[in-house]
Amino acid sequence: MSTSTQGIPFRTNAAEALRNATLRGAMRNATDTFTIKRADALSGVPVEEWREQASAMRLHVLDNLSDYVDRFEKNAARAGARVHRAKDSQEARERIGSILKDHGIGSVVKSKSMVSEEIHLNNYLETQGVRVVETDLGEYIIQIAGEGPSHIIVPAIHKDRRQVGKLFAEKLGCEYSDDPAVLTRIAKKILREEFLSAKAGISGANFAVADSGSIVLFTNEGNGRMCTTLPPLHIAVLSIEKMIPSLADLPKFIRLLPRSATGQILTSYMSVITGTRKPGESTGAEEMHIVLVDNGRSEIVNGEYREMLKCIRCGACLNACPVYRMVGGHAYGTTYPGPMGIVLTTLLDGMEKANPLLEATTLCGACEDVCPVKVPLPQLLRRLRERRVEEGLTPKLEQTGMAGFGKIVKSPFLFHLGQTAAHFLWPVATKIGPKVALDRLPRPVGKIFGRRVS
């Protein structure tokens, strides 16, 4: 089968990834570890009941999304935050850029945010003369390497310790070490200075609470807390579907998100941030802006793929996916990789650009089994694949082949003839054909099923 001629060159990327032994070792280590930890963390708890409840809660929010967004906006404003709505990536980027410009800020500290990757915030801010310092260790590593994240939870998972050691020695001028503890200390020292001098911090949010106007952040390192409490200005950027109704609903998601993401009962830190510093308080930004990114979600939520918006970005489906486990995140050439990434990217960026990604699935269903909020990923993938065929976006050779195959299997005579031919031609084919490819095929069974059915 030929490769697709348009859109993301997934096949080329994947082939390249498969030839990279370091990458495959790193991916195997990471996805195996996460899979085991997740299973441990969810053993002995009523996980099915939790998933049902969380899924129902997410669906309820999607059913009433615009109401919840309005309610969140009102309550966040009541708590002292300024809420901005951005219909697309460009609006979101420009709004954040102008807030920083208004304050004359040339440098910001930032904690990990996938939606900021989605809107390509860092590149934009750099063009506006704003220096962005990623402070999550993984994000810091890929930032100084000039790369994008390859996993939504552990962005630098594609690199091994020697590569990180070399990168630090080269870019930071420190002595080479491949000890993660030493490398972490080096980054900590540099970043502590940045935190203490920063005039603005940018964060994402794992959830937004409609009734209180709070944002909720889960982090392990403490950088998220620093970005949101030390600088006088805090800008939070999040997509609109992150809403949950009230703080009393939060435990449902606290129990599932860290367990599904890293196999932890809870991350080291989980912060609920509600607006700006109130009179008599000694914590909280003096000024807080919340940028709500739509980017097509208001339309997705009304369509047949709406359940994709239940996703809480735990990354469990990445770790479970046999394709992702082999090729890693960069092969997808997108912000969001893996099963959730294929569906979300196709919805956000359009079929034309993203359609080759729809080949990056085996439809095995492992993603659906691990999803904490029961996103029906295989169904969504199948439906998108059907649409890809309907829109004529599959490779020409595949289209011709499938059309021919369709004709043959519809005719009992041709089907029988084909089977008989395969049976007799097999020994010849194995002698002259591509051995590697033929070895993977099941052998034609000949007479047993070769009976003509009329």
């Binding site: 990471a30 962005p155 998972i157 972490t184 209180s212 030390l230 009962i265 809870l266 830190y269 914590t283």
Partner: protein, 165 residues
């Protein structure tokens, strides 16, 4: 669950997340367990606002008001959650929540009557106008961003001592 069962559950879960829990019953015991910690520290931040904080005998030469430069932060936190082994740090009452984040060692005192059995019990008390910052702190700062190798003490404290009082 009885109060003692809740405390035991909290201490058990705090151990699992690599916090170092201790239990004391009076100010004398509090200062006895704090003694070695404060002796080996370079500089100590303590808000000295609550009764239990005021009971801490701070070596005067090590006492600092600048939590950003302190090596240890000793404070009473507002609550704890047994289900997850978490401390609840809140900005309520003027507490600088970040004071427990910047020093390399966080020593958190939690009153035994302020330990909630589970997450629901705690979050259902918050209502719709919570303090500006509520942080659940569950073990020391950690990362696994390089080869998933666990490294303790990234940006936040590498040591978390929890004193149930």
């Amino acid at each position: 669950m009885t109060r003692d069962e809740i405390i035991d559950l909290f201490i058990g879960n705090a151990v699992k997340v690599a916090a170092e829990p201790l239990r004391v019953n009076n100010n004398e015991e509090l200062n006895r367990v704090l003694g070695p910690i404060l002796a080996e520290s370079e500089s100590i931040f303590c808000p000295s606002v609550t009764d239990k904080e005021k009971a801490v005998q701070l070596p005067p030469e090590k006492h600092t008001q600048d939590y950003a430069s302190a090596s240890v932060c000793v404070e009473e936190v507002s609550a704890a959650i047994a289900e997850t082994g978490s401390l609840v740090c809140s900005s309520q009452g003027g507490k600088p929540v970040q004071a427990g984040l910047l020093p390399a060692h966080h020593v958190a005192i939690v009153s035994s009557e302020n330990i909630y059995e589970n997450l629901d019990d705690f979050f259902s008390t918050l209502g719709n106008s919570p303090p500006t910052n509520i942080t659940l702190e569950t073990g020391p700062s950690r990362t696994a961003d390089i080869e998933l190798t666990l490294t303790i003490g990234v940006h936040g404290p590498g040591r978390l001592t929890v004193i149930v009082y």
